[in-house]
């Protein structure tokens, strides 16, 4: 099945990132429509009706989230979460780099629906060139009256600021993002209160992912019904999927939600190298429980199917491990990432990630016993559901799944390493979302 490009349509045209280029393809017509022909409530209703689910990880219905913001005169905020930092995810990067105005238009429309007068794009600090692209696009949008005071001759205002993060994965957690934006240490806040009620500077705040907001102009232009024509009933629309790891054509592929996962990995991304087979894959970024090839490849790629299989679609980032990959090393690498990024605020995550890394290091060094594997598994259980935010779970779920599903491989690794043999090749899938490259099928 080929890609279905809505968000990445015309992405290969470098002119798309300029205002003129974007308008040339009909850009900002949705904004004009929303601001001039629609009431805020109508826009909100359209978004709710579309069933658009958040593309940042949790998959919460975007329109519903926007509807949680209280009505009335108060300072409300919209934050675009562009802190894409999860291993395996690089779709927002591409969306911002190639089509910044689509995002800006989406923000402007979503802000209208939510009644927000101030918007921010919180972009991860390492996305330097993407932030430059956004800065330029935002300047153009101000210039053309799509942002600022009295947007396109209406009496509506929107201020949009691009804020560069300082390099912490945790700031992608929505409340940590708010703290960081306020100039504080980026630590998650306790919920409730949810940001929709009390968010940035204490005001009601809508936080959405880049891809989610990039969908908004299309929904407003073509209507909710049109949008629901794509994807499945519970997962409408398309999804830009980052496929990486042991595949021949890593990259971003925009597909209708619900297509067989096999098509994404084997056809679009080209599958593993000659003579190799898929052993397992993360279906939704490094925080999703890994699926064995046999349990996952034939699942429809949708929120509901992945959840049913005990994993999740998450941000829609597939990392493929072929049969040359050492799962214990992959588990260690995963744990190290979360250990490094844990903010340290809550106990289970802070200490659990640290402990897990130490145990897995012993596993690959051959200094562990099978009993240690029980402890690794038990520690993951002790983390899940006990943390302040989902970062702890994001390690515990995949690591727990790997120990559970590949226990023999861990045991073999311990045995081999303890006998002095260079145990399993330290091969792990490397994320290769090559810059400037859409999926190779373009």
């Amino acid at each position: 099945m080929p890609e279905t490009r809505l968000l990445l349509k015309h992405a290969e045209d470098p002119a798309l990132r300029t205002l003129a280029g974007y308008r040339g393809y009909g850009g900002y017509a949705s904004l004009e429509k929303a601001y001039k022909e629609m009431e805020a409530d109508e826009v909100l209703k359209e978004l709710e009706d579309s069933g658009l689910r958040g593309r940042g990880g949790a998959g919460f219905a975007m329109g519903k989230k926007a509807s949680f913001l209280p009505r009335g005169e108060m300072d409300k905020y919209l934050c675009c979460n562009a802190d894409e930092s999860e291993p395996g995810a690089f779709k927002d990067r591409e969306l911002m780099q190639r089509n910044p105005h689509q995002l800006i238009e989406g923000i402007a429309i979503a802000a209208l629906a939510a009644g927000a007068g101030h918007a921010f794009i919180f972009i991860r600090g390492e996305y330097d060139s993407q932030a430059d692209v956004l800065d330029a696009a935002v300047a153009e949008a101000y210039e053309a009256g799509y942002l600022g005071e009295g947007i396109r001759g209406t009496r509506r205002d929107l201020e949009l600021v691009v804020h560069r993060g300082a390099g912490a994965y945790i700031c992608g957690e929505e409340t940590a993002l708010l703290d960081a934006l306020e100039g504080k240490r980026g630590n998650p806040r306790l919920k409730p209160p949810f940001p929709a009620v009390q968010g940035l500077y204490g005001g009601p705040t809508l936080i959405n992912n880049v891809e989610t907001l990039s969908n908004v102009p299309h929904i407003v232009r073509n209507g909710a019904e049109w949008f629901k024509g794509f994807g499945t009933e519970q997962s409408p629309g398309t999804k830009v999927v980052s496929v990486s790891g042991c595949v021949r054509r890593p990259g971003n592929y925009e597909v209708e939600l619900g297509i067989p996962t096999r098509e994404l990995i084997m056809d679009l991304a080209g599958g593993p190298a000659e003579g190799r087979e898929v052993k397992a894959f993360y279906p939704g970024g490094s925080s999703s429980p890994v699926l064995r090839a046999e349990e996952g490849l034939d699942l429809p790629y949708s929120f509901e199917a992945m959840a049913e299989a005990g994993s999740m679609l998450g941000s829609g980032s597939i990392i493929v491990a072929d049969d040359s990959v050492s799962i214990p090393h992959m588990a260690l690498r995963t744990a190290r990432f979360y250990h490094h990024e844990s903010c340290g605020k809550c106990t289970p995550c802070r200490e659990g990630t640290n402990w897990t890394v130490k145990m897995l290091e012993r596993v690959v060094r051959g200094e562990a016993t099978p009993m240690d594997l029980d402890i690794v598994a038990s520690v993951q259980e002790n983390i899940i559901g006990h943390c302040l935010c989902v970062l702890g779970d994001s390690m515990a779920m995949p690591v727990g799944a790997m120990v559970r599903k590949f226990r023999e491989e861990f045991e073999e690794a311990i045995a081999a390493a303890s006998e002095g043999a260079p145990a399993v090749a330290e091969r792990i899938p490397v994320v290769q979302g090559a810059p400037e490259t859409l999926g190779a099928s373009t």
Binding site: A168, I170, R185, L190, H339, H340, E341, S342, C343, G344, K345, C346, T347, P348, R350, E351, G352, T353, N354, W355, K358, M359, R362, I375, S378, N382, G385, H386, C387, L388
Partner: protein
């Protein structure tokens, strides 16, 4: 909080709680303890960081932190299910992953929440076998507090205190994940006036005071609840006593007084109890030790020789001590010359009007105040704990703050409006305020006025303040009122006990039972008149009780002269000082760790100071010494114990009538809230705005010095000025150096820059000081500190506003 009563079920028990209160607190009402580390309501909103208090709530799939879950009617909670036990045990196991478990050598051992919770809720043993993290330890977080980062469980309490209570924002969490540690920017020492509270807050042995490290173990100490009388805040404290010596001072939470915080003065100012400077027994002039009999006889003879020409000034004293001193003066000697102020002060009528319960605010009123007006005081220096209280009102409850002072205050940054008045112009300022109160005061739902006693040195200022109170209808507005920040810790109690020249116990007009003095107040001399009369040899004998005029009173030279000229000086003092050196008889005083007695908080709360430690040397209870002196004067007061002294006090002060020790108990009681409160002296109807013409005090004409180059001197008592930093070795590093603070424009005009060594001169007097140029100092004014050992600004004062010249030292 709605205040609605609701019912929930915790572990099968029905618990009645207030809707919206946190589940952890509600459960406690049903005797269900849920373990916590990070939760501490005093620190503000819960953070849910430690995850220790996870519980199961029916209808919610995931476990919830009980510290952050508001209770609802009908909620069903389980705290001991397998799922909850597993989660809580897991959190303990996680906490101990990086904890060194060095309990045998840890000061916290035995009083450690981590120990207790590990025993109560943790697993039997840890499965962690890898290396723990290591830090250099212990390191100096400040000169007073050591930090052991390996013991730290990162509960956030200390950091939240620094950022959200004290607002000094010095403590931060640095790094992240399990590498996180508590520290300061650039490893600078954490020096802030309230920082010792973090040692109380720390639930492990990570933060310990150098003054207590390795000094005692919990099983060989006793805790003795008392009240700190180092300042008018009168915070409730608990003395940690080992072998009858105070080893530590910790907070004893009383929301009506201190909110459970202490300043570092109160916390670390205890080593002076055993200082070599302590007066340990009665002495005669020249330092010769005397027996008690000898000293009492000598003192009685001195007082008798003075007779009606004897005068007494009382300072650091309990209500009973104050009562006994004035009783001796009035009843045994027939002298009305008693005061408890360092300089001038308002007359009886104004004081009686201030004492009316309806215009009195209590400390708790600050919490809910719409607007707080701070006049003529910087609480940080004069009553530190109020500084925290005001910050809390602003931060948590959105109170608005207006600051009107001579000099910059620590609270300026959070104020809605800041005004400066020229020293000596408080009356004019307040009169103006009474005539046209700004909206922030007029439109506020309630107003608490926190005013410094110091303005009362000025004629008419207190009357003008009362006018402000009537203009703002404080008397008839719930939660509104005046709250004084006096200069002495027990100023209110001493005044109410009768240590005033024109009022006897209970602010009554008849001050001498032997004379026919009436309410018109043919009164005795106040402090300044006493000084003048001594100089003129119109008075013969001076009794000083807990005061050191040569350090604390304006015009040091004149005071020295007066004391030298007195025929007899009897001095009660805790420590040796310049004044005791001039006395004929010196009696030792008890400290607040040794004393038994009551004090009265500026908001009218009677509190009890209880003896915690042994009296060093040959020190006797002060009430007993006074009773003996009275007996030697041929006047039997009939006091044979502290309770009988207290009883005499409550019988003498009508609005203390019937208050018992049981009423005071551990938390104190405001006399306004007892039936006796109705006995407050009656006053005329509020005379109305503009009444501030008739009063004693300094001349009220606007003070301006026309001489070019002259600056008006404004002085203040720095938090750290005085014996506190001289007699407590751990606090010595905080001892302030005299400096003269000037505004930017005056500095430019006078060619001064920060750090310049100058002499500040008035008339023939001058003091050395270092220049400090500060933006917020008003033009035409310079600031200096009172009470420091070197260059005490009191030397420059004469009780009225003065102007000074700043002369640059010749280049060295």
């Amino acid at each position: 909080m709605s205040g609605k009563e609701i019912t929930l079920i915790v572990d099968g028990r029905e618990v009645v709680a207030t809707e919206g209160e946190m589940l952890h607190d509600a459960a406690r009402k049903g005797d269900v303890e849920i373990p916590v580390f990070c939760y501490e309501p005093k620190l503000g909103d819960p953070v849910g960081a430690c995850r220790m208090c996870l519980v199961e709530i029916e209808g919610i799939p995931k476990l919830q932190t009980s510290c952050s879950t508001p209770v609802r009617d009908g909620m069903v909670v389980h705290t001991r299910t397998d799922q909850v036990k597993q989660a809580q045990s897991a959190v303990v196991e996680f906490l101990l992953v990086n904890h060194p478990l060095d309990c045998p050598v840890c000061d916290k051992g035995g009083e450690c929440p981590l120990q207790d919770i590990s025993y109560g809720w943790g697993p039997e043993k840890s499965r962690f076998t890898d290396d723990k993290r290591h830090f250099q330890k212990p390191v100096e977080l400040s000169p007073l507090v050591a930090i052991d980062r390996e013991r730290c469980i990162l509960c956030y309490r200390c950091v939240r205190f620094s950022q959200e209570v004290a607002e000094d924002e010095q403590l931060q969490l640095l790094e992240r994940g399990d590498r996180t540690f508590v520290g300061t920017f650039d490893d600078r020492p954490y020096v802030a006036p309230f920082h010792g509270n973090i040692t109380d807050l720390c639930p492990v042995g990570a933060l310990t005071s150098y003054t207590y490290r390795f000094r005692a173990r919990p099983w060989d100490i006793e805790q003795a609840g008392s009240v700190c009388t180092l300042c008018p805040s009168q915070c409730n404290v608990s003395f940690t006593v080992r072998d009858e010596r105070v080893k530590r001072v910790i907070a004893r939470d009383n929301a009506e007084v201190d909110d459970g915080w202490l300043c570092d003065r109160g916390r670390y100012g205890f080593e002076m109890f055993d200082a070599p400077e302590r007066v340990r027994g009665p002495r005669l002039r020249g330092g010769a030790e005397a027996t008690w009999e000898e000293a009492v006889a000598k003192a009685a003879a001195a007082l008798k020789a003075g007779g009606e020409q004897a005068a007494a000034i009382v300072g650091d004293a309990s209500n009973e001590e104050g009562y006994l001193v004035q009783h001796i003066m009035r009843e045994a000697l027939g002298s009305p010359h008693v005061d408890s102020r360092r300089s001038r002060g308002p007359g009886r009528e104004a004081l009686a009007r201030l004492a009316q319960p309806e215009i009195s605010a209590k400390v708790r009123d600050i919490d809910a105040a719409g607007t707080i007006l701070v006049v003529g005081t910087d609480p940080l220096h004069s009553s530190p704990i109020l500084d925290l209280r005001i910050r809390k009102a602003i931060r948590r409850n959105g109170a608005k703050l207006v600051v009107a002072t001579e000099a910059p205050t620590a609270l300026d940054g959070g104020a809605e409006a800041v005004t400066r008045f020229v020293p000596g112009n408080a009356t004019a300022f307040l009169s103006g305020l009474a005539e046209a109160p700004p909206d922030v005061l007029r439109n506020a739902e309630s107003v608490v006025v926190i005013w410094g006693e110091r303005i009362g040195r000025e004629q008419g200022a207190v009357e003008a303040l009362l006018d402000v109170a009537s203009a703002l209808n404080l008397a008839s507005t719930e939660g509104s009122g005046l709250l004084e920040v006096p200069e002495l810790a027990n100023a209110r109690g001493l005044r109410e006990a009768g240590c005033l020249p024109d009022a006897g116990p209970g602010l009554t007009g008849s001050v001498l039972s032997t004379s026919e003095v009436t309410n018109t107040g043919t009164s005795g001399m106040g402090t300044e008149e006493i000084r003048a009369a001594l100089e003129a040899r119109e008075l013969k004998t001076l009794l000083l009780f807990g005061v050191d005029p040569l350090r604390d009173f304006p015009d040091t030279e004149a005071w020295k002269n007066a004391i030298v000229k007195a025929e007899h000086v009897v001095c009660f003092s805790t420590f040796d000082n310049a004044t005791t050196a001039l006395a004929d008889v010196v009696f030792p005083l008890e400290t607040h760790a040794e004393k038994d007695g009551t004090v009265t908080h500026p908001d009218g709360r009677l509190q009890r100071v209880r003896p915690a430690a042994a009296r060093p040397g040959d020190i006797r209870p002060n009430w007993g010494v006074l009773a003996e002196i009275s007996l030697a004067l041929g006047h039997d007061i009939g006091i044979s114990s502290q309770p009988s002294a207290f009883k005499a006090l409550t019988e003498a002060v009508p609005f203390y009538a019937g208050i018992t020790d049981a009423d005071i108990a551990g938390r104190g009681i405001r006399w306004q809230e007892t039936p006796a409160g109705a006995n407050v002296p009656e006053v005329d109807e509020a005379p109305g705005v503009g009444s501030s013409k008739h009063s004693s005090g300094a001349p009220a004409e606007r003070f301006e010095d026309p001489t070019p180059g002259a600056l008006t001197l404004s002085t203040y008592r720095d938090l750290w000025a005085g014996p506190i930093t001289e007699l407590n070795p751990p606090l010595r590093f905080l001892q302030p150096q005299q400096r003269v603070e000037v505004s930017v424009s005056d500095a430019e005009q006078l060619g001064l820059k920060s750090g310049d060594s100058v002499r500040v001169a008035r008339g023939g007097k001058s003091l050395g000081a270092l220049v400090s140029v500060r933006e917020r100092v008003p033009e035409g004014v310079c600031l200096m500190v009172e009470g420091v050992a070197e260059g005490n600004a009191n030397a420059m004062l004469n009780g009225a506003p003065v102007s000074v010249r700043i002369e640059k030292d010749a280049a060295p």
